[in-house]
């Protein structure tokens, strides 16, 4: 094959021109035919058209491939933009969800506030100090809002604590510290809602445990009894839920029984509170 090609290589141009003239004649015959074009012209054009068809096929494939490539590049860019948008929307969604939850909590707080017989100021918890000694939180309201030392702090679930003003935990114009009822130094005058027996609730330093002591010897405590503020201390308004009796301890050497109370407030997740600032709500 190669020997034939090299032998007739000098005839390449004449052969190309001859083929060209044949194609030209076929085209002329095909276009100028009065009836149907001759079989020869059709055959020549079919053969001559094969490379053109192949070229057309390949070019269309290539164009499609090229388009696809650009489409993919565009898709990648779009994907990046969409991913960014998605991240932003997720963040926005998270914030909205948070706002919705806050809204819900505030609604509850407002609803609770409206049912109270005393004046309150809503405040946000902005700091925690759950160290082993002191159990305090910091709220975003201070003297400027009418907050004073010794005012009770409550939330819809129950009693939280009282405003303090001590070295290291001062009451400022914009902030106030709240001594939680779980603090070991905290004392709250309370009574058993069912039996009306009075006692003192003392903090234990643990957020899930309060000690209910100094009860009268005749007190018949039962597990599940609700403990509420008595109102005797002048600090805490009466009727605020402190917690629920979890266990009772009786000892022959003790004069009276004492109980362990589970606080009704979840101090770990406390976010909004109400500060009791006045006796009667107008």
């Amino acid at each position: 094959m190669s020997s034939i090609l090299s032998r007739y290589r000098h005839l390449l141009i004449p052969i190309i021109l001859w083929l060209f003239s044949l194609i030209l004649l076929s085209v002329q015959s095909y276009q100028g035919a009065e009836q149907s074009p001759s079989i020869f012209s059709r055959a020549v054009l079919e053969i001559a058209g094969a490379p053109a068809r192949a070229y057309s096929y390949l070019s269309s494939k290539f164009r499609r491939l090229w388009k696809k490539y650009f489409y993919l590049v565009e898709l990648e860019n779009k994907n990046l933009i969409l991913q960014k948008k998605l991240a932003m929307l997720e963040m926005e969604n998270q914030m909205l969800r948070e706002q919705a939850l806050e809204n819900l909590r505030l609604k509850k707080l407002l609803n609770f506030k409206n049912h109270l017989d005393f004046q309150t100021i809503p405040a946000k918890v902005i700091g925690w100090d759950f160290s082993s000694f002191a159990k305090t939180i910091i709220i975003d309201k201070g003297k400027a809002d009418g907050i004073k030392k010794g005012q009770a702090v409550i939330c819809p679930r129950g009693l939280v604590g009282q405003i303090i003003d001590e070295p290291g935990k001062p009451l400022t114009f914009t902030q106030a510290s709240v001594l939680l009822i779980t603090d070991p130094t905290s004392r709250v005058s309370a009574l058993v809602q069912r039996t009306r027996d009075r006692g003192i609730i003392q903090g234990t330093g643990k957020t899930d445990r309060l000690l209910f002591k100094y009860l009268s010897p005749e007190t018949q405590l039962e597990k599940g009894d609700r403990v509420i503020t008595s109102g005797l201390s002048q600090i805490f308004p009466p009727g605020i839920l402190v917690g629920v009796i979890q266990s009772i301890e009786t000892n022959p050497f003790w004069v009276s029984p004492q109980g362990w109370v589970k606080p009704s407030v979840d101090f770990q997740h406390l976010e909004e509170v109400l500060v009791v600032v006045g006796e009667n709500q107008l």
Binding site: L11, P14, I15, L17, W18, S21, L24, L25, Q28, G32
Partner: protein
């Protein structure tokens, strides 16, 4: 280069004159019964004495001119002309007719091929009726006359070629 330009000029000029002779002078006289062709001899000469590329290009151009002037089916003339050129190229290496007589006979045979091929192409590509003309007396007469013309053209171009080749020598002799 000068020789090439001269050859191109001569070939194109002769082709135009030949076409003029064929279609403007002879066709009205012969009333289209006979088609006298001077170009065919030129194509054979090109096939014999020109290199493949140049000869092919010249043949293509003059065949195209012939076809363009002839009328509707110009492609038939172009195709037949190129086929004749290719056949001449193909056969000249095998037969190598060196003697003038053999060359002339050879060119006559090629004219016959051209005439037959022309009608055959017209028959298969244009109209079948053209094939029927092959058996007519006019057709054979056409081959005969065009054969003579081609011999004359062949001879004329050989002479012209020799003449132009000898001009520089003659000029140098005169100078000396």
């Amino acid at each position: 280069m000068r020789r090439k330009i001269r050859d191109w000029f001569l070939v194109i000029l002769f082709a135009l004159l030949g076409i003029f002779f064929q279609f403007r002078l002879m066709a009205p006289i012969l009333k289209d019964r006979l088609e006298l062709n001077l170009i065919v001899g030129l194509i054979i000469w090109l096939g014999f004495f020109k290199n493949e590329t140049e000869g092919a290009l010249m043949s293509f151009i003059i065949s195209y001119l012939l076809g363009a002037v002839s009328g509707v089916w110009s492609g038939v003339y172009l195709f037949s002309g190129m086929s004749l050129y290719l056949l001449t190229q193909f056969l000249k290496e095998r037969f190598s007719p060196l003697k003038p007589g053999a060359q002339l006979l050879f060119s006559w045979g090629l004219v016959a091929f051209y005439q037959i091929f022309l009608l055959f192409s017209a028959g298969i590509f244009v109209k079948k009726e053209y094939l029927g003309e092959m058996g007519s007396g006019y057709f054979l007469l056409e081959i005969f006359i065009n054969g003579i013309f081609s011999v004359l053209v062949f001879h004329l171009f050989n002479q012209l070629d020799n003449f132009f080749d000898r001009i520089p020598e003659a000029l140098e002799t005169r100078k000396a």
